[in-house]
């Protein structure tokens, strides 16, 4: 499972970077989204994968029993997802503004005055 998720995360990074090297605004933003999702997947994977063992103290026991899923990476990734969502939404609006101001979605043309 770790290997699969690590691979998936790597593919997301690669696809994200590939898309960011394109000149279209939309592709750039999709690339940023993929990159942030690749990061999220990496945080979960690096934090350790434990299936079906919530970090809850079982009845009768005084402490947690190993193995249990570490809640911290999940909390981190939740925060990162929310931040990533907000930033993607912002860059979409910004791209829309760029498009209405410059009339082009080619990044190289945006700064060039006609």
């Amino acid at each position: 499972m770790e290997a699969l998720l690590a691979l998936a995360s790597g593919v997301l990074y690669a696809a994200g970077i590939y898309l960011m090297l394109r000149r279209r605004l939309a592709q750039l933003i999709i690339g940023l989204g993929l990159l942030s999702n690749g990061t999220n997947l990496l945080i979960v994977t690096a934090g350790g994968l434990t299936r079906a063992r919530p970090p809850v103290v079982p009845e009768g026991a005084a402490t947690l029993v190993q193995p249990y899923a570490d809640p911290v990476p999940q909390a981190l990734v939740l925060t990162a997802i929310v931040i990533g969502f907000g930033l993607t939404a912002f860059s979409l609006v910004l791209a829309h503004r760029v498009h209405t101001t410059a009339g082009t979605d080619d990044i190289d043309d945006v700064g060039r005055e006609r």
């Binding site: 990496l42 911290v72 907000g86 930033l87 760029v98 101001t101 410059a102």
Partner: protein, 491 residues
């Protein structure tokens, strides 16, 4: 008390969003927020200066588990600098802000920016550092993107993209760091870092951190976004960005190097030194090629970040103390110079040197005030820039880093050339036919005069200030006090 420099701008931002969207109330509330921020920062500083590292565990969750705020001398003195810059920017707003910007929440965004920077300096947890980075960036994105022209949109998009990439790299490093150590608390990490130094993970992490923070700080080869974007927003916003945002990257570099990478392989320090050297040389040489006042400043900003990180890479107490002194000097001076560019924009509607000149003849008072930051940045004795460079030079020679010292001297000469040329072209030169279109505006002059006074104070009080930065450097290099204060959390 430690939470005040975060709480004050947050409250100010909330009040500003609810307050009437007319100019007068917005400006006064913003100014009140900034002044209170400065006051609370001074309080925190005095406390830290007197009683050592201050720690606040939010909701009394003990250290490696909860949210930790820490103020050592470096963080405290930088928060004071945030207050100074914030106050100056709030004062400048009185001479007029684009009404559209003001209606869209210019002042509350500025307060959120100050909160993000203050939070980044005060946090004791790497994940919170990431969150504060994002707070600060989102505020800066919106401030930057409230623009109209194509050049400004282009700059805003570049700025947003590169910063999102840097954040992704930082977050990747955090994910791997948590996987390797099981904690993101800075003090706890300082303790457990040696245990992972055999696995090779530390090298990967160090390089990821170095790349992420170098993008934020603007180090070669990752600085090209900065001169491409900082000259486009209005001068006051540019001043806040130039003064504070890159310094957060520098602060993060100082923090990770002193806390985690102190015994990393010398190759890491050599890499940082090489990047700094290239930043200095390329930044200053490029500034000589520019004909626009604000672009000259952008390249000077980049180049001088190189000074700070070069001094950090030497990693001796004297060099680190010099680096901290230079950070403080640079925050005040570069903010001031961007404000000077704002006055030039008001007077002549351009910052291209072809349209400037004759300033000394037409605006003697403004020119006299502008002389202080220009020649301080240039490193003319006895101003603070000269003292900072001298300290870095002494630090380099004492560390037997003669090449670095030589480079610092050469780049100092280039800075003198760059700023001297700017002074000659913009102020002394015969001047274009263009006459001044407006008055410089009293609020601008007040802010510039105040920042110039701070520079003068840093020059006159250089002795005590050096003593302070030396203690800050000691505290950073000793680590024990910081780690103990956090993990034994007295409060």
């Amino acid at each position: 008390m430690l939470v005040l420099p975060i709480l004050v701008p947050l409250t100010a931002a909330a009040v500003l969003m609810l307050a009437p969207k007319r100019a007068a109330p917005q400006r006064w509330i913003s100014l009140a927020g900034s002044v209170l921020l400065l006051a609370s920062a001074v309080l925190v500083f005095l406390r830290v200066n007197e009683a050592g590292v201050q720690v606040l565990q939010i909701s009394r969750w003990p250290a490696p588990f909860g949210i930790t705020l820490v103020a050592d001398l470096l963080a405290a003195v930088l928060v004071v600098a945030v207050g100074v810059v914030g106050t100056a920017i709030s004062v400048v707003a009185f001479s007029g802000v684009d009404p559209r910007r003001e209606a869209f929440g210019y002042h509350s965004l500025l307060q959120i920016l100050l909160m993000g920077v203050g939070g980044a300096f005060l946090t004791g947890d790497f994940f919170n550092l990431y969150v504060w980075f994002e707070v600060m960036l989102v505020a800066s994105f919106v401030l930057m993107a409230l623009n109209r022209t194509r050049a400004q949109m282009d700059a805003a998009f570049k700025y947003v993209t590169i910063n999102l990439i840097a954040s992704s790299i930082f977050l990747t490093a955090l994910g791997l760091l948590y996987g390797a150590t099981g904690t993101l608390n800075m003090a706890e990490l300082a303790r457990v870092w040696p245990t992972i130094s055999t696995s090779g993970v530390d090298t990967v992490l160090a390089v990821l951190f170095l790349i992420a923070f170098s993008i934020k700080a603007g180090l070669f080869p990752l600085f090209f976004w900065l001169p491409a974007s900082y000259h486009t927003p209005p001068a006051a916003i540019g001043a806040a960005f130039a003064g504070l945002l890159t310094k957060v990257g520098v602060y993060a570099l100082i923090r990770v190097f002193t806390l985690l990478f102190h015994s990393a392989s010398p190759a890491l320090f050599a890499l940082l030194l090489a990047m700094s050297a290239a930043t200095m040389v390329i930044g200053l040489v490029a500034s000589l090629n520019e004909r626009d006042f604000r672009r000259v400043l952008s390249f000077n900003l980049v180049g001088h970040i190189g000074y700070i990180t070069a001094s950090l890479s030497l990693f001796t107490p004297a060099a680190l103390a010099a680096a901290i002194f230079y950070v403080l000097h640079h925050i005040v001076v570069i903010t001031n110079l961007y404000l000077v560019s704002g006055v030039l924009l008001r007077l002549r509607r351009t910052t291209d040197m072809a349209g400037l000149g004759g300033m000394y003849r037409d605006q003697p008072l403004f020119s006299a005030l502008a002389m202080v930051p220009i020649f301080s940045l240039a490193g003319v004795p006895p101003l603070s820039g000269f003292l900072g460079k001298l300290a870095i030079l002494e630090g380099a020679f004492a560390a037997k880093a003669y090449w670095t010292g030589g480079l610092v001297l050469m780049v100092g000469l280039l800075t003198l050339l760059s700023m001297g040329r700017t002074w000659a072209a913009s102020f002394w030169g015969p001047g274009a036919e263009a006459r001044d279109l407006a008055a410089p505006g009293t609020p601008y002059l007040v802010a510039i005069a105040a920042l110039s006074l701070v520079t003068m104070a840093m020059t006159i009080g250089a002795g005590p200030l050096f003593e302070l930065t030396s203690r800050a450097a000691q505290q950073l290099l000793q680590r024990d006090e910081y780690v103990r204060a956090v993990l034994e959390g007295t409060r």
